[in-house]
Each structure stands twice: as C-alpha cells, then as structure tokens.
Symmetry: C2
Subunit: 487 residues, 2 copies
C-alpha cells in the first residue's frame, strides 16, 4: 500500500484542480431554468431527420476502388471495412463496417471567473441523432470540416480562443479517443481554456457555474458526450497542502466526501503509478491485435448484409448504418445528408467502487475495441451491450455483468442514462452506474481488472489513450456526486 | 521561465534515476576487454547473408489477396502497401512499401547490484543486417514469434524475469515506437528489471557496470538500437534533494556537468510541461495525416518498381527491400530466409543544445512519419537522410540541415555512427550528433521546433509515442557524455 496516491500531475494541473473544486460556485442553482432554456432552444433548433436509401444520398456514394461510403469532397467521414485479428475473447477474427474519421476536431470549453466563481460557457446544441433534441454541449464542438469551411456554413463561434488567435490560458489540452467499437482510431482534442475578454451574448450559449453544470449530470440525456469527456479531463489531484480545505466542504463520512477524497489524491492506493503503467504495457504486449483496412464488401464474410436501406448484421446484433436527410433552420447549412450508425441496443457502463485502506478505489479493466488507437484502454468494470452476449458461452460472459444486473438498489450511488455523440450515432442511449461494493467484495476472480484510485485515473487523463470514452463519462458523472447539494 | 523544470515523474522513477547516476560504477574500465569479447563472439556467431530472389524464398510469398509479401505462418512480419495523405511537407499523397509487424516484442535489460554498483547484463548478438557482425544488445530481445516458439528454435533465455514468472523489480516498462518511415505502427516493450537471483553464466552474456555500458556509446556501431532505446527510457530526473550530490561528481563548469544538470531536472525551463503537451496536441490536430493499408501493387503509382530481385524506387531514393538467406551455427534455428530493408543512404540525426537561463535546452521538432502510431513524435533538431533532399526546393530543405553540415568542429560535443535494428535493416548506419550552439543562436525562424530541457524529454519517456527512436538514441548517446572519464 502506497503512502499516498502518487499522482504524476504538474503544478499547473494541481492548481487547476483546486480552483475547479473550491471556486465551483457552491450549491448548484437554477436547474429548472436551465431545463427551460434547453427546451426553448429545442423548439428553435428543431431538426427533422428522415431515413433515405443510400442511392438517394446527395454527394455520398460507395467508392469504386474499395467500396467505402464517402462524401464526394473526400472529407467528413466514411464507412469502410476493417479486419481485426486477436488471440483472445469470443470473436477472434472478423471484418466489420467502421466509421473512419481521421480529422481531429475540437471539443473546447471556455471558462471565466465572475466574482471569484468559475463559470463555463455551454452551448445548447441539436444533433440529428440526439434523444432530446438539444443537449448541453461544449462551447466549441467542431470537426476540421467545420472550422475550415468545408460545410460552407457560417463561421465557428469562439474558435479564436482555442487556436491561439485571441489571448487565453490553456488549462486542459489533450487528444482523447472515442468509441473504438464504431470509430477507427478517432480522437478529438479536449480543451478547457480560461478567457479574460468580455464575450458577446448569444441565445444558444450560457454561462453556468461549474457546480451547476456538474449537477445537470444527474439528469438523463442532458449533458452530451462531448461535454462529458471535456469535463472528465479537468485535473482533480489538488495541491498537496490543500486537501483538508477541499474536503471541509462535505460531511466527512458521506459517500460524497469519500469519493472526493479519492479524486483529490488525499488517500493511499493499492498499486503505485509505475506498477499500473507496467500492467498496461503488459496487457498491450500480451494481447495480439491486428487491424487492417479492407474493401467494404469484405464485411459480408462476417455476416454483414449491405442493402440500399442500410448495412446490418444477420444476427441483428451490434449496429446498423443508414442514410438520413436532416433539415434545420438554425445551423451552418440548412439541410444535409449523412450516414448515421445506430447501435442495436443499449450499453451498460458500470463502475464498481470499494473502500480499500480508507480510500475509495474503482475497479477498471483494459478493454480492446476493433477500432482502438492502441491495443487496450481502461474501461469501466462492466462495459458492454448486454444483448450482444445473450448467446455467449457462460465463460465468455463479461465479468460482473450479472452482479450489476442484480445489484441491490442500496448499493447504487449513481444511475443515469446518457447518449453518445448525436452527430454520428442515432438515438444511442447508455446506462451509466456507480456502485459501491462492500469491503469483503472479492475481485480476484477477474484477473484482467485492477483497483485504482480516482486521482490515478484523472492523472492518466493528462495523456492520450489511457482512459476510454465510457470511463471518462463515468468520471464526469462522479463529479455530480461529489458536488454539494442542498439535501 | 519556470522556477524548476516541472517533471511529472513518480517517486519510484526518481529513485531509479538517482541510483543509475550515483551507483553507476564510477569511471568506466575494461573497454578494450569488452571489444575483445565482442570480437570473439563475432567469430563464433558468424552469419552468412546472401541475397536471393523473392521467388526463391522458402515459406515467404506474395499473397493472392492483397499482394503483400508474407510468411506462410502469417507470423513474423510482412511487406505491405501503405497510402498516406497529409496537408503539409514536400510529398502530400503517396503509396509506399512498409514493414508491418503488429506483434510487440520485448527489449529487456536485466540489472543487478554487485557490491553497491549497478550492473546490466548485455548480450553479444549477431543480426543479419549488422555492420559489425556482433553488437551489444539487451539481455532479452525477442519478438512474439521468438518467445512463443514460432521459430521452432531454442527457448528464449532470461524471459522468466520479464514476464513475471520469476520474482524481479520492474524499473522501466513502456511501449515505444520504432522507425515510422519503414515500419507501420511498430512498437516494442522497453523494460529494465532488477534481479536478486544468482544467474547462470553464458558466453554470449556479460555483466557491465552502467558506466562501462554508457562509455561504449562513444564507439561506432557497438551498442545496438534495441539497447540504445532501453537505455534512453531509464529515468534521469532525480529526487529533489539529491541534485547537488549527483552534480558533485563532475567539474562544475564542464559541458558534461551542464548536460547532467539538465538531465536530472536541477534547472529551469523555457516551457512548462503543460505548455509542451498542449503544443504536441496542437501539432497533432493541425497536421492532417491519413494512413490506409493498400494492396502492394498500388505502390507502383508512386514510382516503386517491384522486381524479383527487390523492390526499389525509380529515383533510387528512400530504400530497397530484398530477400536474403541467413546461415549460422549459433542461433535458435540454423538457417532461415527473410526480407530485409536497405535504406538508400545514411541518416543524419543531430540535436542542437543551448544554454538558456543557466540550463541546457535541446531543440526538438515534432516529426511525422508514414507509419507512425500518432501524427507526430518528437525528433532531433535535424532528422533526415540528406540525399533524399538533394533535389528538394530550398524552402522544403530541412531546417538547420545546412547549419549542421557546416558546423565548426569546436561546437560538436558528440559525434558517432550507430546502426539501426540489424534484424530488419541491412547495413543501415546513421550519424548521431550533439552540437552546442552559442547563446545568441536564434531558433525563431523554425516555428515547428521547441526548446526542452533533457529532464522534460526523459519524463515524457515514461509514456508511449512522445519521443521517436532517433531522439531516444541521442538521449542514450548523451549519457556517454555525462559519464565520468579519466580525461
């Protein structure tokens, strides 16, 4: 047991961590008003989304050389074939359709201090795949095609604070991966930038205190994926001398306080950071993982059916891909067509946490996904679409899935539904859970899992490709739990 | 200017750094004897390497589906087509042959303390492409095909200390990339492991003090690439209270001492670590970089010629690929055939260093390579095969190339030739240089370059894909400079 969770953070990151915890605005307010504002925006930004056959898609076509579905400009993204070979797991050799989007976009959040309180500038943004028409989004959410004008739309608002054109202070700036099951090596640039200028008002944008934003994560499908990942990348390991001051804000024996204690690095850890990094190297070496671009028609060998109405799997598992036409009045362009990916069913993302030696630890696993940048990234304890495993042999059923499906309500510390990126995924909603297990809970039978403190997870978020998008979402959700409330 | 180079190292890494500097054995000895031992091994391990046409290669063939040159087992590596598209540089769209070797191998160095002095177990190892028949190699240098027995050879010596079978203490364990110009996303697992067992003697293995090994880097083509990269990954930022003790070993105003001062993190830095990481994120976002596997015949579109005797470029640039048969008496198997890649000419890898505010800084650049894992990794100030640029337009000639080619001898602090991995590259020798520039040397005209302290570079080496193999080689070479000598 290490004396103190030995985070690897820099002095600048520790200072940011302390500010985001002490100057967050205190008890969140105005929840109803924020909902109203989102609803008003939902009416104004209404998107009409209609499925169309691939053959009716303007500017999109299956390319003659390798059959990929691509835009005539060569930009945006494409649907291609990917062959994967591994030496572990249920399926070890398959070819699947995958979204290829090599452009790295910006997910940027502006921060500004008003009267000593940190505020963030959120955007009410509609996306064609969204479950609620409009969700809270980062200040800037732009692909290269957006900000270089391939969309032929209006200019991207506030980009001047993220690309160095206007003075600002960069607090977070790291590339992070997105869903490896559906994207081939997709990353976005997660940024948090402090501004000192007075910014113009705009009806789609609104300043929230940090506490107000965190509290919105208690509500289903309100904070979008892009904002969740940016929130997760904010450092949490505070300066060594400031832990008592931060902890004083919450009742000492509450789950809230114990969670915060783990996030700020006040406790001890089962494994030190070198040992965790060595474990990650070991997993990435031991697991064989070979990705190769393939012509799209090759997916038929693995049971995928390509029709004009969509691409789907013969077992009705995994996902489908189809074309849509989107019409709007308030967007860079007034209407467009694009493919969307619709997962066949909902995902379950559950993180088990346990008190070990007086510090809460989270049980993470290294997860390999078809389109991942690296062999594995850290994922929640349970990370799957349970329906895909309905016919799996018992020994290949995901560890802890049945435990989570049957866990008593009294152990659930957080439980909400959030949706994935509405610009690519059609109405994809997943259940995110935080579950506290008793101290005699045994994890020895899952050799791939490891206990980590939350500050160890957030310190790794200072670098790319350690923590997958689903675990980052849970890290963001956990910040709602340790934010003060009236109750 | 930061008060102190704010490294991100862990307590364990700082302790290792201190030990490798204080317990290195002092002034290196026995240089002549080590050369003799290598020569004796060179006679015993003689490899006979003969070029053979592709059609005469046993078990290797161009595959019917995509034309790649592969082994019948599907293992080892293959020669495939890669298409690259970028938005910068001289060539922006091309297809080239590339070595695909998705298996991650071990590069492992055993360390043991004898009488308070750290020793490393080096191996005298022959490789078919080596310039000297035999070079100093890590204790363990094994691909998955080696250690899982695909070679049908003898067991891999000492692997039990690297895979957890025997007790040991892991000091370094990180995946690092190899030559991105020639390999597609190739990595190896760089490990340094301390052992406490008494190990059996073997004529191909020998314990050297850390100082003895570092001093061998003053000699051309003696320390192989695999050993150089492992050496580079050893932490150098010492525990905060120990810097004076480490510096006391060298004369205070010497270049040696100033170099060591930068490596151990005793000085100040121009940029803090957050700002450097942000810069790397910015480069990776701004540079467009799309890689796609292509059938091998597609390389002909970019001027590559495929004959039975080899694959070469019509401009006689870049490299050639050909088949060889290798015969030996002292190897896992007695003879085998394999393709080798032979670069068309030598590379120049030069790192400029400058005193800024009392601390030596190195001028690094983010370099993009066709087969890179990420868009860019940090590289030496000058990193190129100069002959490839003989006909380049002046504005696309690499920055500082002409400066280095004409630099006065009095500025050169290190200058040696080292070869790249002899298991894949045929007689590839590159010039590695460390050059101290005067304090009025201006780097403002090369906006892609940045000044970093050496401890900032070695702290980034705790993670994957920040520092490329050539810059790692120079980091290792620099350790020869700051090692004490009699002179």
């Amino acid at each position: 047991m290490d004396d103190r969770a030995d985070n690897r953070t820099t002095p600048e990151s520790s200072q940011s961590a302390t500010r985001f915890l002490l100057d967050d605005g205190g008890v969140p307010t105005a929840t109803a008003e924020i909902h109203d504002w989102l609803s008003r925006n939902g009416v104004e930004q209404q998107l009409e989304v209609t499925r169309v056959p691939f053959s009716a898609m303007d500017r999109w076509a299956f390319q003659p050389d390798d059959g990929r579905l691509a835009h005539e400009s060569g930009r945006f993204f494409s649907i291609e074939g990917l062959h994967v070979r591994t030496n572990f797991g249920w399926r070890r050799d398959w070819t699947q359709p995958i979204i290829v989007q090599p452009e790295i976009g910006f997910l940027g959040l502006l921060v500004k201090e008003f009267d000593g309180v940190l505020h963030v500038l959120v955007q009410a943004k509609a996306e064609p795949g969204n479950i609620n028409a409009v969700q809270l989004s980062p200040t800037l959410q732009a692909t290269r095609s957006n900000y270089t004008g391939v969309h032929r739309g209006s200019k991207v608002r506030f980009i001047e604070y993220f690309n160095g054109t206007r003075p600002s202070r960069i607090l977070v700036d790291v590339l992070q991966s997105e869903q490896g099951a559906w994207f081939l090596r997709k990353r976005n640039r997660n940024m948090v930038v402090e501004v000192f200028d007075d910014l113009p008002e705009h009806p789609n944008f609104r300043w929230l205190t940090v506490a107000q934003l965190r509290a919105m994560l208690h509500h289903d499908n309100v904070v979008n994926m892009d904002l969740r990942t940016v929130l997760a990348c904010i450092p949490t390991a505070v300066e060594p001398g400031r832990t008592d001051e931060v902890l004083a804000r919450l009742p000492g024996d509450s789950f809230q306080a114990r969670l915060l204690h783990s996030f700020i690095g006040a406790g001890t850890s089962v494994h030190n950071m070198n040992s965790l990094l060595s474990w990650i190297s070991d997993v990435r070496t031991t697991r064989e993982f070979v990705q190769r671009n393939r012509p799209l028609p090759d997916i038929e060998r693995s049971g995928w059916i390509r029709g004009d109405d969509g691409i789907e799997h013969e077992e009705k598992k995994y996902f489908t891909v189809f074309g849509v036409t989107v019409t709007t009045s308030d967007r860079e362009v007034n209407s467009w067509m694009q493919p969307l990916l619709s997962p066949a069913n909902s995902g379950l993302l559950a993180l088990l946490v346990k008190d070990i030696g007086g510090t809460l630890h989270a049980l993470v696993q290294p997860r390999t996904e078809a389109g991942g940048m690296d062999v594995a990234e850290l994922a929640p304890t349970v990370h799957c679409q349970p329906d895909n495993y309905a016919d799996a042999p018992p020994e290949l059923r995901p560890a802890y899935l049945d435990y989570v499906l049957n866990v008593p309500r009294s152990r659930i510390r957080y439980d909400a539904w959030h949706s994935e990126e509405g610009g690519r995924f059609y109405r994809n909603e997943n259940r995110y859970m935080l579950i506290e297990v008793p101290s005699d809970f045994d994890a020895d039978d899952a050799p791939d899992h490891r206990w980590m403190t939350f500050d160890q997870i957030t310190c790794l978020l200072g670098h790319s490709h350690y923590v997958n998008i689903q675990l980052r979402s849970i890290v963001a959700c956990a910040s709602a739990v340790y934010t003060r409330s009236d109750g």
